[in-house]
Symmetry: none
Subunit: 232 residues, 2 copies
């Protein structure tokens, strides 16, 4: 049984870090990754809020960048409170769960005050948005985690769904990032962006499209080959 | 639409009271009843944790006994972490929601440290138990409230998944076919397939990947431009 991995990007408050650890314990999750955390997993406030599940804090992995933190994952869901300009598929927690079956999944949560930036979101395949009252939509990060993990845990008692992949494997984020690097270099080389300030947004959208595709390893090799062939 | 009423019996910590108020705001609930509370709804810690939804704290009703607090309700669900000796029907949050339809419902939560006593439970029609990891089953009261209210709110909406498109439109099959024709012509031109008999399968797989992407018109224009740019 593959367990989702929780990724907290720039988590700010030790209390929230502890609440996330407690929620992970409630639903049997073990793997926590902290990207540029602004608080310390051995802060007494974190340990108090973990309410006995400090083990997940002790074993948390630290990362310097989001790209590294998602490198070995097959499917990344980012969480946002509101819709963004990026073209991504939005899922409720319940609708997202069946997609996770059999995959190495990361669930990415942003800093408490600001949430994830568009640049942060660009590493994700899809987005999870919890349906809430639009007039009061600010969910505490611990509560957002608990809701999504509750849905995941519920699904483990149900019958699972399967994605037919044949002999192929879904591409890892790292391989996809390598493909992005190559594609970006090619597009830079041919001055594709024309107006430099447009590049950031355009490049986010191109990556969003390929992430939505969820390509297999074979498909990425094919696309890579196609780019090389057209170039020559 | 009947909203459930939240009943907190002998709530101990102002922080938790505030967290419950915040969760109620997130899911649009207005009515809070406090039975023999051990903390004050205008405690600054409660107001801080309510994160802007202090109105529900200000308008909370106070009761001296559970019997009074449930007097006008039609259906009361009590929440417990574990099964008790009392012979009651146990429901997961999800299974409980359909029973609430059209009724004046109360959701009863116990003191943080001990939970509801058997005597407290005797006012309830049924029991809700949230499925959790049996080795670490202690859910924070704010988190228990948020999970049950999330389930209730979900039942009020039917939106599962959606694609955020902003100002763009999904590409039509016809436009996608035009893109495929162009791409195929380019790949033919550069002798991408090498072995002719492999083309059919490879080309099917490439098209499958782009179909899974469900590109927008804008994205297809971008990809088209990228191909042209790399070609030059």
């Amino acid at each position: 049984m593959n367990q989702p991995i929780i990724l907290l990007h720039q988590v700010q408050l030790a209390e929230n870090l502890g609440a996330v650890a407690r929620a992970m314990g409630n639903f049997g999750l073990k793997q926590l990754r902290l990207i540029q955390p602004k608080c310390d997993p051995d802060d007494p406030k974190a340990i108090a809020m973990a309410a006995g599940n400090e083990r997940v804090l002790e074993s948390a992995s630290l990362y310097q960048s989001l790209d590294h933190a998602v490198g070995d994952l097959e499917l990344v869901f980012a969480t946002t409170a509101a819709e963004r300009e990026l073209i991504k598929e939005y899922y409720t927690p319940r609708a997202a769960i069946p997609l996770m079956s059999g995959k190495k999944v990361g669930l990415l949560f942003g800093p408490e005050r600001t949430g994830l930036s568009n640049e942060d979101l660009s590493v994700a395949n899809h987005i999870i948005t919890i349906p809430v009252n639009p007039d009061f939509s600010s969910l505490n990060i611990g509560q957002a985690v608990v809701i999504i993990l509750y849905e995941w845990y519920q699904s483990q008692t149900d019958k699972d769904t399967w994605l037919h992949l044949g002999d192929t494997k879904p591409v890892s984020q790292k391989e996809l990032q390598n493909f992005f690097k190559l594609l970006e270099a090619e597009l830079d080389l041919v001055n594709f962006w024309r107006v430099p300030h447009k590049k950031e947004k355009m490049w986010q959208n191109i990556r969003a499209a390929f992430l939505r595709m969820q390509p297999t390893e074979q498909e990425i090799r094919t696309l890579y080959g196609a780019i090389q062939a057209i170039k020559k």
